[in-house]
C-alpha cells in the first residue's frame, strides 16, 4: 500500500504502467488502486472517438494527439480492440497507426481487448480512464472498437463524443436512424478525399438540423487524417465543446451522474455475486436451480422466491428476530 501511494506521487510512467496492468487484470490490488484514484479524478477532459471499423479512428486519434502534444498537454490514450470469442486472444493493432507518437514523452498509450464486453469498450475502460485521470492527464482519448449501430458505452465514460464516419456508408435514411447516429457531440467525415464526402456532410447537416434547437449544435467536420487535413479545426471544436460543458454546468453534472451510475453497477455485480454464492451454499436453493434447469420449475417464480428469501433472512439477522 505504501508503495502504491508513493507511486501516485511520483507520477512516472513505469509505476503507472504497473498500476494499469493490475486494473486491467482486476487483481485484488486493483481495488486499492481504484479506491485511491477515486478521489483524485475528475479534472481530465475525456474524449471518446467511435465509428465503424476502418473509418480511420486510430489514425485520427494519432494526428489529434500529435497536435495536442504541441499544446503542452499530458495525454492519455486508451485504444480498444476486439477479443476473439473462440480463443480469448486479441490482436491489438491501434498503435501501428500512431507510430509518430512513440517519441513524445507526454503521450501514454494503453491498448485494451474487449474481453467479452459488447458495448464497444472493454469492461475495465472506465477504471483505466480513472487511473489516468488521477495521474493528472489533461486529456484522455478513448478509441472504441469498430462499432455498428448500437454500441455506445462510450457515452457513459466520455465528456465529448466524436463519431467518425466515411463517405458512402448508405443514404440519408441511415443518418436518421436511432442509436449511434444520435450520440455524437461532433461528427467527422474522415477519408473526405473519397467520392461522396459532400453528400455525407449534407445528410448529417439535415439530420442535425432536424434534431431541433439545442444549446450545443453538433458541428460536422471533413478530415483526411492521413494527410493531417482538418485536424486543427477539429481540435478547435473539441475545445469549444469543453468550454460549453463547463459553461452549462454539464461538466459537473456528467461527473456526478457517472459516479452514481458506477455505484449502482458495482452494487449490481456485487449483489449478483453474493446471490450466486448463497445459492451454491444452500442445498434447497441448489435443488430449485436444478429444477429450473430441467424445466420443471419456472424461472419467474423461482427468482422471486430466492431473492425474497435472501432479503427475509437478512432482515431477521439484522433485527435479531
Amino acid at each position: 500500500m505504501e508503495d502504491l501511494i508513493g507511486s501516485f506521487e511520483k507520477k512516472d510512467n513505469v509505476s503507472l504502467g504497473k498500476m494499469l496492468k493490475e486494473v486491467e487484470n482486476q487483481t485484488p490490488l486493483s481495488l486499492e488502486i481504484l479506491k485511491l484514484s477515486s478521489f483524485r479524478k475528475g479534472k481530465a477532459h475525456i474524449i471518446g472517438v467511435t465509428g465503424p471499423p476502418g473509418s480511420g479512428k486510430s489514425t485520427l486519434v494519432g494526428k489529434m494527439c500529435k497536435k495536442l502534444a504541441t499544446m503542452d498537454l499530458r495525454i492519455g490514450v486508451v485504444c480498444v480492440d476486439p477479443t476473439s470469442p473462440f480463443t480469448k486472444g486479441a490482436l491489438l493493432g491501434d498503435r501501428i497507426r500512431m507510430q509518430e507518437l512513440a517519441k513524445l514523452p507526454n503521450v501514454f498509450i494503453k491498448s485494451l481487448a474487449t474481453r467479452g464486453n459488447l458495448g464497444g469498450l472493454a469492461s475495465s475502460t472506465a477504471d483505466i480512464v480513472q487511473v489516468l485521470d488521477a495521474y493528472e492527464m489533461d486529456v484522455i482519448l478513448i478509441e472504441t472498437v469498430g462499432v455498428g449501430q448500437i454500441e455506445f458505452d462510450v457515452l457513459g465514460v466520455a465528456d465529448t463524443v466524436l463519431l467518425v464516419s466515411v463517405p458512402g456508408l448508405g443514404d440519408t435514411l441511415q443518418t436518421l436512424k436511432a442509436g449511434i447516429m444520435e450520440i455524437a457531440d461532433i461528427y467527422v467525415i474522415n477519408q473526405a478525399d473519397r467520392p461522396g464526402a459532400d453528400e455525407s456532410v449534407k445528410d448529417l447537416n439535415l439530420m442535425v438540423k432536424e434534431s431541433g434547437k439545442r444549446e450545443w449544435s453538433p458541428p460536422i467536420h471533413k478530415t483526411v487524417a492521413t494527410q493531417d487535413s482538418g485536424i486543427d479545426e477539429l481540435i478547435h471544436d473539441i475545445t469549444a465543446h469543453k468550454k460549453y460543458l463547463e459553461r452549462s454546468g454539464l461538466w459537473k453534472e456528467k461527473r456526478q451522474t457517472r459516479n452514481v451510475t458506477r455505484l449502482y453497477s458495482m452494487i449490481e455485480s456485487l449483489l449478483a455475486q453474493r446471490v450466486e454464492d448463497h445459492i451454491n451454499r444452500e442445498e434447497s436453493l441448489k435443488a430449485k436451480v436444478q429444477d429450473v434447469m430441467k424445466g420443471e420449475r419456472d424461472p419467474y417464480t423461482t427468482s422471486h422466491e430466492i431473492v425474497d428469501r435472501l432479503i427475509a433472512k437478512h432482515n431477521s439477522y439484522q433485527y435479531g428476530g
Partner: protein
C-alpha cells in the same frame, strides 16, 4: 491471467510479414498481442511499460539483431521492466549464444512451430508470476 505480448519489428527492418503472422498465431493461442510495427529499442520498451507487457517479441531479418536486440534488454533493465524478451527471424546459429548471453531468453528461427513459441512463453511467464 491473459498474457500480453508487445510485438515489434526491430529498427528499420522492413520484413513485416513474419511478425504479423506470428502475432496472429499467438492471438489464436489466446494471447493479447499489441502490434507496434517498426520501432527502435527505446520506443519498444516504452510501449511495453505502457501496455504492461509480459513479453516483448522482436522480429528481425535485417542483420541488426546483435546491435539492437541486446539494447532492448539493457534499456528494459535500466527502466525496471521485467518482461520476457524473445526474438524471431533469420539469425545465424553462431549469434544465438551471444544473444542469450545478452539476456534474450530465446531465439526462434524459420520453421519453428507456433506451439513451441506459445508453450515457451506460457512456461516462462507463469514461472515469473509464481
Amino acid at each position: 491471467m491473459q498474457i500480453k505480448v508487445v510485438m515489434a519489428k526491430l529498427g528499420l527492418d522492413i520484413h513485416w510479414r513474419g511478425a504479423l503472422v506470428v502475432s496472429r498465431m499467438l492471438r489464436d493461442e489466446g494471447m493479447e498481442v499489441v502490434y507496434l510495427g517498426n520501432q527502435f529499442p527505446e520506443q519498444i520498451v516504452d510501449a511495453a511499460i505502457q501496455e504492461g507487457a509480459d513479453v516483448i517479441g522482436l522480429s528481425t531479418l535485417g542483420g541488426n539483431h546483435l546491435t539492437l536486440g541486446p539494447k532492448v534488454v539493457q534499456i528494459a533493465k535500466e527502466k525496471g521492466v521485467d518482461a520476457l524478451v524473445i526474438m524471431g527471424g533469420v539469425i545465424p546459429e553462431d549469434d544465438i549464444p551471444l544473444l542469450k548471453e545478452a539476456g534474450i531468453s530465446e531465439v526462434f528461427g524459420p520453421e519453428t512451430r507456433i506451439e513451441s513459441i506459445a508453450s515457451f512463453i506460457r512456461s516462462e511467464v507463469n514461472q515469473s508470476i509464481a
